[in-house]
């Protein structure tokens, strides 16, 4: 083992900042991180053992215990649940004779719950040793388990294959793209790789920044910060070492647009990164790819090599002397919070993905404490069209404050889940129609951290000035239990994904979830609803990062828009006496001391 681990460490030049890669490689080989490996890593990388251990413990896909030769990670998002997850779980458990979150006695197969894996349009879905298995049914599960027991390799277990890039020529994956509506900016028919890059390097970096500023392109990850301004701030920070990071850690449940971009348009993305690199003076770009999308890693590497061969990456790019820029892909290891840019940077440096205090902002001090721009996948893709067609053309799409188009992931109770490229300003109603959703009770905009709206608000627009979104809508049908099936699931998600750094995020969300369960259990009062609402607001001002600030949104926005659902569940009698049951609560102590229950006990 020692030799093997040493060679893995060697592969990453004994660089402790590449701890993530090293740990993933060890996890792949041994199906866990053995004690011996921790000792060797601490020794070789000049870290303390605790440094190594705390990084391991932070990430969902790194484990100190063996996860099974075949590790099945089954998505447990709300949409998976309404798509038949329970039957799939039952089938797995029956076939293997163990319950979830366990490994078979022979160590062959482990089954684990896992947070959203970006397949909301094809649930229930699971990752098995990195490969994606979609639209699972009890029958498919049976075949899968039989195949695994027969010792088949993962590629041989994949029976259905998706279209085009997902097909045998490149990815050979079960994933399908489901692109339902193409738009001018991301899916332009006449896109030719390198054109925009050549156009960009004919201008000065300042001119590029100005153009992007004028286009009003805003960040597509959700927060909507103007991209040109971010670049400008980075340039102002100065220094000769600057980094560009592409945030492909798309972890918001219900969002899968970056998955499709990475599958269909990787060249557009990498060209956008090269242009951004040129504009801010970065020599290195890093794509932080969520672990769940690692099935694309080799394919993306091959595209990068293709671009290097064409001299669109590497040294003196496209003949421009002195313009050197290259891209590497960094794999995450399963942590929603790493989508937050400062947590992402921590993770890139081989540490726990805990958000940093801001300021300093990444554009001042980011990766390795150098000025760093972190842009979303879709933002960087949009840059290419801004350069090709100009800021004015770009602004001709969308609304006054939200220029351009937006890629949306639509899923949930609808006929046509998938990807829709729309202009900003589109109404929710229109999207409901296009997705073929009927009898819609509610729409979750922008994932759990966004908001939940009812029919009286379906005429609202998707735009930064109205309903801002990082790119997802989940339709929730009339027949669903909105609070029980969705809000509880969303709260569980945030509780699991909290990094634990801020107390209100770490504990308050648990308290809120429990209070919600109390109400769902019929034990709540109006006072509970009021308190829930009041306390939920606390996280917004007392947590450090976006996760903590928005984690209570599932509760906040459903109390705001669906208060009647809560009120239907609570006791309205002002002098309500809880459903506390004296007989039940003294049963244990009475049994311990051997006495009978007598009521009433006389008060003295």
């Amino acid at each position: 083992m020692r030799e093997n681990i040493l060679s893995i460490i060697e592969k990453y030049q004994k660089d402790h900042r590449r701890l993530m890669d090293i740990l993933i490689a060890i996890q792949d080989t041994y199906r866990h991180i053995p004690d011996e490996a921790v000792d060797i890593l601490a020794d070789q990388l000049d870290l303390s053992k605790v440094d190594v251990e705390q990084t391991i413990s932070f990430y969902h896909f790194l484990s100190r215990e063996p996860v099974g030769k075949y590790a099945i990670y089954l998505n447990d998002s709300a949409v998976a649940n309404i798509s038949g997850r329970a039957e799939v779980v039952q089938a797995f458990e029956e076939e293997l004779g163990i319950s979830f979150n366990n490994v078979t006695a022979d160590g062959l197969i482990g089954m684990w719950d896992t947070a959203d894996i970006g397949m909301n349009d094809q649930e229930p879905a699971a990752l098995i040793n990195g490969a994606v298995f979609t639209k699972l049914t009890p029958k498919k599960v049976k075949n899968l388990v039989a195949g695994i027991k027969a010792g088949k390799d993962i590629p041989d277990l994949v029976t259905e294959i998706g279209e085009e890039v997902n097909g045998p020529a490149a990815l050979s994956t079960m994933v399908t793209n489901n692109i339902r509506q193409k738009g001018a900016i991301l899916f332009s028919d006449d896109y030719e790789v390198g054109q925009a890059l050549k156009q960009a390097i004919a201008q000065t970096p300042e001119e590029i920044v100005t153009e992007v500023k004028q286009s009003n392109l805003r960040g597509r990850g959700g927060a909507g910060f103007p991209a040109g301004l971010k670049w400008d701030f980075c340039r102002q920070s100065g220094g000769d070492e600057v980094y560009l990071i592409c945030n492909a850690d798309e972890g918001e449940p219900g969002t899968f647009k970056d998955r499709v971009i990475l599958t269909e348009l990787p060249k557009l993305l990498f060209e956008g990164m090269a242009i951004a690199g040129y504009a801010i003076g970065a020599k290195q770009g890093i794509v932080y790819l969520r672990y769940e999308y690692r099935y694309m890693q080799a394919y993306l590497e091959s595209i990068l090599q293709e671009l290097r061969d064409q001299n669109f990456l590497g040294k003196n790019i496209a003949g421009k002397a002195g313009f050197d820029f290259d891209i590497r892909i960094q794999l995450g290891a399963g942590a929603y919070v790493c989508g937050e840019e400062t947590a992402l940077i921590e993770s890139l440096e081989g540490k726990r993905g805990e958000p940093r205090n801001r300021p300093p902002f990444p554009v001042q001090r980011g990766y390795l404490d150098k000025p760093t721009v972190v842009n979303n996948v879709e933002t960087l893709c949009s840059v290419v069209q801004v350069i090709l067609e100009g800021a004015e053309w770009f602004k001709s799409f969308g609304t006054s404050e939200s220029a351009g188009t937006k890629l949306l992931s639509l899923s949930g109770d609808c006929k046509n889940p998938g990807i829709y490229a729309v202009e900003w300003g589109v109404t929710v109603q229109k999207l409901i129609r296009r997705a073929g959703a009927t009898n819609v009770q509610a729409v979750q905009i922008g994932g759990p951290s966004g908001m939940c709206i009812g029919p009286d608000q379906f005429n609202r627009q998707l735009a930064f000035e109205d309903l801002a979104t990082g790119g997802s809508l989940i339709f929730i049908g009339e027949e669903r239990d909105l609070l029980g099936d969705f809000v509880v699931n969303f709260m569980d998600f945030f509780i699991d994904e909290s990094c634990g750094s801020c107390a209100p995020c770490r504990s308050l969300n648990v308290i809120l979830r429990n209070k919600l369960l109390k109400i769902l259990d019929g034990k709540g009062t109006n006072q509970d609803i009021d308190e829930l609402y009041k306390w939920a607001g606390v996280g917004r001002v007392t947590n450090r990062c976006g996760l903590g600030q928005t984690a209570a949104n599932p509760i906040l926005s459903t109390i705001e828009n669906f208060r009647h659902l809560y009120e239907d569940l609570v006791e309205t009698n002002e002098n309500f006496v809880s459903t506390f049951d004296l007989k039940d609560s003294v049963a244990e102590s009475n049994a311990a001391v051997d006495r009978e229950f007598v009521l009433p006990h006389k008060t003295r």
Partner: protein
Amino acid sequence: MTKPVLATTSLAGCFGCHMSFLDIDERILELIDLVEFNKSPVDDIKTFTKQCDIGLIEGGCCNSENIEVLKDFRKNCNILVSVGECAIMGGLPALRNGISIKECLEEAYLDGPTVKANTEKIMPNDEELPMLLDMVYPCHEIVKIDYFLPGCPPRADLIWNALVALVTGDELKMPYEVVKFD
């Protein structure tokens, strides 16, 4: 005009909140002018003799008697106030909530290192004794509580100010000094 009627009790508490209440010093004379006491350890009235306006509750609920008393207070008082951490969230007694009551009893009466005399391994089970609850409950999980006064104990000034505000209807004065806890 008749004076508002006040009742107080200590459930699973240490009487510290009552002691803090008595810390109002010379204002105790004003207190007598302000309210009439009914069931309370202050005047040693054991049972309610009339409907009261305000009930101050110290301590959470750890046994069946606490439950009975608390329900009795809810029935006989128009306004209930949880006074101090034990009433509000179980406080120190709730430290046992992570341990099963069976284990607690065994540790206390059978297995504890200081248990020497109990050679017959008796656990107290006389029917005169209140029955122990599986956990220590905060008061608002048993009945509706109208107001909460935090602190361990809440300062005399906080209790006094709250009481005066309730009786007079004036706004509660809560300067920083009376709600800081370190």
